[in-house]
Symmetry: C2
């Protein structure tokens, strides 16, 4: 006899909302690190973040109901950091350091809530902007992306039969576990979950993180998701993002100031953090230009996170640069996080073995790889390339060039100016899949 | 079609052990407060705690399997305070005070584990002793009691049909909710869960605590269970227990030192804690004697927790004593926690309205009241009166007289000596039900 708990079933079928984001800690750790610095540097700077769907063929406004999207965004706005969460942020060690977050920052977090949003349907897509002080609009990036990705997955699985769903998740679990089995062949692997923003859903991400913890043991060093790090006693991992150089560049008054922007933010960063948090993103306006003009002290940083060139090429370029500057790459750290999956992880691991310290941030292909799993076929559950980027800084346009013109963002005129200042040497066009 | 998650079902049917105690925080808050003080006063004092089943008619060794009991006790010994738990203890405020636990104490807790146990079957009962430094043996009290109570409940529910179980819990839930509905008629009620040691089971206690939180709102001020307080963002409640005066008394070298023991522990306590933590237990060796010989400064304490006289009589006696000492009872606090249930809570609430501040610790009748709920009838799920008390201090016998001779513990010769020193005035014999 199968017994159903009637109260639970009735509740399951009648609740008002199944919230996707249930905690302000359900975000990437680097947001909190950056936020602490942004609050010092630019406490009131107006910055707009905007959703960008690089997978234009997927008409998000046709598959996600607007009322549902608003209900989820409204729910996220109702959240506050809880007492237990603030205690944990205050008391936990991050990257081996106690008291990473200052008491005045934590007191400020206690009052934090997400600002309003600006949502419109335009031609089958959602235009979604977050205006407000940088300290606030920035905190929308991760919840907005995880809400939209999970709403898309929910829409795709709506009205499926129980067997179809059962087989779907069975295949996805089997698929992930095969990846885990391959990865655990790499004895010195250092792997992190970076998949919050692109996840199929919160519960699925949690399953994936727990599977990695059990299957990879010490090779799995943590997660960028602060809530999962707290709940599973894992390390919270992350450093900084493109929004830092993008905002600094947008504020530049002339071309000389623009050219110096990528290094000014590193100066600011190292005034706040040290050690393994000194990881630079080289590609905001092109890696080649960044390395060519970098002051010597940049080579003293712990490492780089190449994010848009093919990983082996990017790693070789950086290693050569360290050597040219007289630094020993074996003491340095490269973090690869751009659309990685088992093949590219294995390839990088083998290619760089013994030459440099390596770590991998595994995102979309960890937490949202349902390709080939859907018993009904089709691509409704394939991941899409959805980002949420700085678009405007105090009325000025924001730009990201990256090493891959397909990943560039900003209006064409501003992009042209940045290309004039930074050049385009080393840029390589490649399709963006996830 | 009813669908069963096959992996979950297989795991449910094949796991090695369903642990009853899964965290060292699954204990009463006062244990941690006392422990911090004990570690200062008596870091190495050998103290034995022993199980006592006051419900002799229930032959525990006949209903609880010894191997299961050992497996649960062994599992509890494998536990450590986790990083997240220690961070919460360090960072949370208790009774409105930050940093209640000193860093050196928390560092010591990080290394803590429960000591070995000494278990024997004797005549249908278990003899269960915990030897070791007081700091360690004391920490067995709550997990040992909750393990035995839950094993008894599991034994009683083993091999029941699904319907019988469903109806059992439906009735128990309905029964508790009726109590909640009555209690919420009392607008100024202050109620706390004190039911960890006597609970039917951990999951049932959690349900009860959550039901109180939802049903009683502000009237439910917290729980003595530290783990549930952390998980549900409730206040952790508790002050001190009889073990303090019992050990101090056992150490007394002569009758004069014995007579002064109850006040010496209060001195020690107030050197560590203040405010609403200054709650005295008056009945370790009789309330009448305690009040009669109490130094005047005892009347400056915040309140009392009468624990063995009928509550109204005890309250009146204490109020008269405060008045005789020139204190205003309306500024004082009485905490009733001896076998309370809705009738006695209502009676006390009405009797003392406006005359003294009141608070209730609700134990067995909150977390283990299945009387009349079992569809098979019988009393296998009725609560029993099981305690775990100090029995020996550095080779000397430990004694508790209490106001009710039925609750006295200790060997007859030692009890006789204590009665000679403290007298028996005011003692009242009454059956002990829970």
């Amino acid at each position: 006899m199968a017994v159903t708990d009637i109260a639970t079933r009735t509740y399951d079928h009648s609740w008002r909302l199944d919230p996707i984001v249930r905690s302000l800690l359900d975000t990437d750790f680097y947001k909190l690190l950056m936020l602490q610095m942004i609050r010092h540097q630019h406490p009131d700077l107006p910055v707009t973040f905007s959703l960008m769907n690089r997978s234009r063929a997927v008409r998000l406004a046709d598959c996600i109901d607007e009322a549902e999207l608003r209900a989820q965004l409204d729910h996220a706005r109702s959240l506050r950091f809880t007492k237990k969460e603030l205690i944990w942020l205050a008391g936990n060690s991050f990257y081996g350091q106690a008291r990473m977050f200052a008491p005045d920052f934590l007191a400020w977090l206690a009052e934090f809530r997400l600002p309003d949003y600006d949502l419109r349907r335009v031609d089958g897509q959602y235009e979604l902007h977050f205006h407000g002080p940088w300290t606030h609009s920035s905190m929308w990036e991760i919840p907005a992306l995880s809400i939209i990705n999970e709403l898309r997955a929910r829409a795709a699985t709506r009205d499926r039969g129980r067997f179809a769903l059962d087989v779907l998740y069975a295949r996805a679990k089997a698929k992930l576990w095969e990846k885990v089995e391959r990865l655990r062949q790499l004895p010195d692997l250092r792997l992190t979950d970076f998949g919050t923003r692109r996840r199929h859903g919160f519960l699925w991400q949690r399953w994936c993180v727990e599977a990695c913890k059990e299957g990879l043991g010490e090779r799995f060093i943590g997660t960028s998701n602060v809530l999962l790090a707290m709940d599973a006693d894992l390390e919270a991992i992350g450093t900084n993002a493109h929004e830092l150089p993008m905002v600094e560049a947008a504020l530049a008054e002339d071309d000389a100031a623009l050219a110096g922007a990528p290094y000014r933010v590193l100066r600011q960063w190292q005034a706040h953090y040290g050690g393994n948090l000194l990881i630079a993103l080289p590609d905001a306006f092109g890696t080649t230009a960044f390395l060519e003009h970098a002051p010597d002290w940049v080579a003293d940083w712990t490492g780089f996170r190449p994010d848009s060139l093919p990983p082996i090429a990017a790693g070789e370029q950086i290693i050569a640069w360290w050597q040219a500057r007289g630094r020993d790459p074996r003491t340095k750290l490269l973090i690869f996080s751009d659309g990685m999956d088992v093949d590219s992880i294995e390839a990088c691991y083998r290619h760089f073995a013994g030459r440099v310290r390596l770590s991998f941030g595994w995102g979309t292909n960890l937490t949202n790889d349902f390709r080939g799993c859907d018993p009904e076929g089709g691509h409704a559950l394939d991941p899409i390339s959805l980002v949420c980027k700085v678009t405007e800084v105090d009325g000025r346009p924001a730009v990201k060039l990256s090493d891959n013109p397909e990943k560039a963002t900003g209006d064409p005129e501003a992009i042209a100016r940045y290309l004039r200042v930074f050049g385009a040497r080393g840029h390589q066009r490649a399709a963006v899949e996830v």
